[in-house]
């Protein structure tokens, strides 16, 4: 078990290394650097000035040197101030070093956000916290509802309840966030006026009024999928021998479902719920942009839209980490929950 986890962690590190390098390469394509230089200098700068800005800020160093600097295995060089000729900070707004130092991800320095004019850490972690709150409420709504729907539908396969709930869950998987978000806003904010169509004020304080719509929108897309998986698992469990034995023993249907079937039927949905996180990530971006909630997704879109290299790298590192760690947890957790499965 331990060696399995260690091997998986090794693969994970390799994957993250490869992925960040790909992201690094794609962000540093020539058109993207041009765009960054244009946005960072004043209007109507000539091509030479743009080029000199890029050289001055160290964007023209060798690709691998720069990637190494970001990682923290190559020392970051200070830039030379063109006016004085002395070493100067690369970006004055986030305490870049004046002497060559190792300051990369390995040292806990995520770099400097050119869009927000602050260090990446000071933007990224509060945003992650905000998204964490959103995620918590989404899971708190999504998991119980979807499990309940799945169990009720799978309890008696082919019954009318099953048909209705199955079609409802198919409908919910066919409703992406940007569709359900618009429909919910139209119904609850525009027509009924019960809820706020924007969650911008949720950064100051979360209320039922401003937070229900984003949570509902995010939850609805996942509910259908988890419910269908739970239903399939429940249907399978209900055909097992021990369920029939329990029924023939004279136990009531309710007690068979709760005491015998439920525990075994909930193993499969656990994996599905864990693997739902990467999907939620895309949903989070859509919902945060749609409802103007300043979280991780909002930061990612801002970083990508403004070609903010370090911030986007930080965002990709975090999201890739979340995807990989949830995969690991789901594998290990599955082995724990299901004694018949042994990881090699």
């Amino acid at each position: 078990m331990l060696s399995f986890v260690i091997r998986r962690l090794g693969t994970m590190a390799l994957t993250m290394l490869c992925l960040t390098m790909v992201v690094f390469f794609l962000i540093n394509l020539e058109p993207n650097l041009k765009k960054l230089a244009i946005s960072q200098t004043e209007m109507h700068t000539s091509a030479e000035q743009l080029e000199s800005w890029l050289v001055n800020h160290g964007y023209r160093q060798n690709f691998f040197v720069r990637y190494g600097q970001w990682l923290g295995v190559v020392p970051k060089q200070p830039v030379t101030d063109p006016a004085t000729g002395k070493p100067a900070q690369r970006f004055s707004f986030c305490n870049d070093p004046v002497v060559p130092t190792f300051a990369g991800v390995f040292e806990g320095d995520f770099g400097c956000s050119t869009k927000f004019k602050a260090s990446v850490a000071s933007k990224l972690f509060p945003a992650l916290g905000a998204t964490g709150i959103l995620m918590f409420w989404v899971l708190a709504v999504m998991v119980p509802i979807s499990l309940l729907i799945g169990i009720l539908a799978g309890m008696r396969e082919g019954s009318r309840t099953d048909r209705v709930l199955s079609v409802a869950s198919i409908a919910s998987t066919a409703t992406p966030e940007y569709v359900s978000g618009v429909i919910f806003t139209v119904i609850f904010a525009s027509w009924l006026g019960w809820l706020n169509g924007s969650a911008a004020s949720a950064s100051q304080g979360i209320t039922f009024y401003n937070f229900t719509l984003p949570v509902m929108t995010l939850a609805i897309y996942g509910i259908g999928y988890i419910a269908r998986m739970t239903r399939a698992s429940m249907v399978e469990v209900m055909t097992q021998q021990y369920i029939r034995t329990a029924r023939l023993k004279g136990l009531s249907f309710g007690s068979v479902v709760v005491k015998h079937a439920l525990r075994n039927a909930l193993i499969a949905p656990f994996t599905v719920i864990m693997l739902q996180f990467p999907w939620l990530l895309t949903g989070v971006v859509i919902v945060e942009v749609m409802f103007r909630y300043q979280g991780f997704g909002y930061t990612l879109v801002e970083a990508a839209g403004n070609n903010d290299i370090d911030l986007l790298l930080g965002c990709s590192l975090v999201s890739v980490f979340i995807v990989l760690i949830t995969q690991l947890i789901s594998d290990v957790g599955y082995a724990f929950l299901n004694p018949r499965i042994r990881v090699q």
Binding site: A174, A304, S319
Partner: protein
């Protein structure tokens, strides 16, 4: 002059009558399928359940809408009639006397016509991209599952690499105006579009290598048609100017294929690993068939059930992805009538006008729902066998 409106009831009637070519086509196709369902194998069995009929009906509805878009829509999807800005549903355009059935958007375009034309974009890109993703996934998944070992390790690692990318980040990196200046999208297109040609060449080669008369004809057709489409799509050098794709559409296409082929790869790999332990595969091995013959002619036909179901779901998922791209304004032109872009434009103005938002959302939802229902009933039917 104030704008004249028609009543809600008339709007409904007019919308229904606008779709007349679709109703006729639906009636013919559904009627024929229903009459001959005994002879239509899996497709015919779909008509045994209500869910299947609804699924097929919705998918066909949007298919015919895309085909007859020019007849159905009363206006040009890009035409702007200034006085019709933000008009409510049912407003009559004074010049032509035609109605803005679902109202006008903020740029005074007809919402109904845009929704109808939007179906064309979705119904061309989503199935085509899914088709290419299937080709890539099958061509790589077969050897990975069949041989195992090093090939499997390398290919699975690459697939997991792509799958670990959050889709939205992938699109923000791959679908940008800047990336069209670099050779990356064309290189990716060059690689991806090669797979169907390889697939069909190997398919015919393994089967007919001892029958040159058949082999040369089939290989010739594959190479000529494949090469023609390849030249048109990748180099935009189709000598007849029929196959053509805009650079930004190529970019979207490539990104979507890239994002969804690892999923197909994983499914194919799993299916192959399961099927290769069967007796008929062992029999073929004993006969001395070549590995690729076994993969393509013994294993693949037996994996078709789950693959068809997955393809249906995947077209729906690709539709959702296209909508996401449109919603974030990535790749597609800002005035493009596709549903995602329309939802983006309308959702910014929900506080003042809601009518431009509803048609594209309901269109997208119903199409994906139709595909999911279809997939669900296909799965149920194939499980019965």
């Amino acid at each position: 002059m104030p704008i004249q409106y028609i009543s809600t009831f008339t709007v409904v009637l007019e919308v229904l009558s606008r779709f007349w070519p679709v109703w006729i086509a639906l009636l013919i196709v559904m009627g024929a399928s229903f009459a001959y369902k005994k002879k239509l194998a899996l497709y015919g069995q779909l008509f045994d359940s209500g869910v299947g009929i609804v699924g097929v009906g919705i998918c066909l509805f949007w298919l015919f809408t895309a085909i007859f878009a020019a007849t159905i829509s009363p206006f040009d999807p890009l035409a702007q009639v200034p006085i019709m800005k933000d008009v409510l549903p049912g407003a009559i355009e004074p010049q032509s006397g035609l109605t803005y059935l679902f109202g006008g958007d903020k740029l005074a375009r007809d919402v109904f016509s845009r929704m109808v034309y939007g179906s064309q974009i979705v119904l061309i890109i989503a199935p085509a991209a899914t088709g290419f993703a299937l080709m890539v996934g099958i061509t790589l998944g077969l050897p990975a599952g069949y041989y195992g070992g090093k090939i499997d390790t390398v290919l699975s690692f690459l697939a997991n690499l792509v799958l670990a990318f959050p889709v939205i980040l992938l699109f923000y990196l791959l679908v940008t105006p800047g990336i069209m200046d670099t050779p990356i999208p064309y290189a990716m297109a060059g690689v991806f579009f090669l797979f169907p040609i390889i697939f069909f060449s190997v398919l015919f080669w393994t089967r007919y290598k001892n029958r040159p008369d058949r082999l040369y004809i089939l290989l010739g057709i594959t190479l000529i048609v494949g090469g023609w489409i390849y030249a048109g799509l990748v180099f935009d050098a189709d000598p007849l100017k029929i196959v053509h794709i805009d650079p930004n559409q190529l970019n979207i296409f490539v990104a979507v294929v890239f994002a969804s082929s690892p999923g197909v790869f994983r499914i194919v790999r799993g299916l192959v690993m399961d099927i290769k332990t069967r007796d008929y595969v062992a029999a073929a091995q004993t006969r001395g068939e070549s590995p690729w013959y076994i993969m393509l002619w013994e294993i693949l036909p037996n994996a078709r059930g789950p693959l068809i179901v997955d393809a249906c779901l995947r077209i729906g998922y690709t539709t959702i992805l296209l909508g996401t791209l449109g919603y974030f304004g990535l790749g597609l032109a800002p005035e493009s009538p596709d549903w995602g872009t329309a939802i983006k434009d309308a959702s910014r103005l929900l506080r003042s006008f809601i009518h431009p938002a509803l048609p594209p959302t309901i269109a997208l939802m119903s199409f994906v729902l139709g595909l999911n229902l279809l997939a669900d009933s296909l799965r149920e039917q194939s499980m019965k066998d």
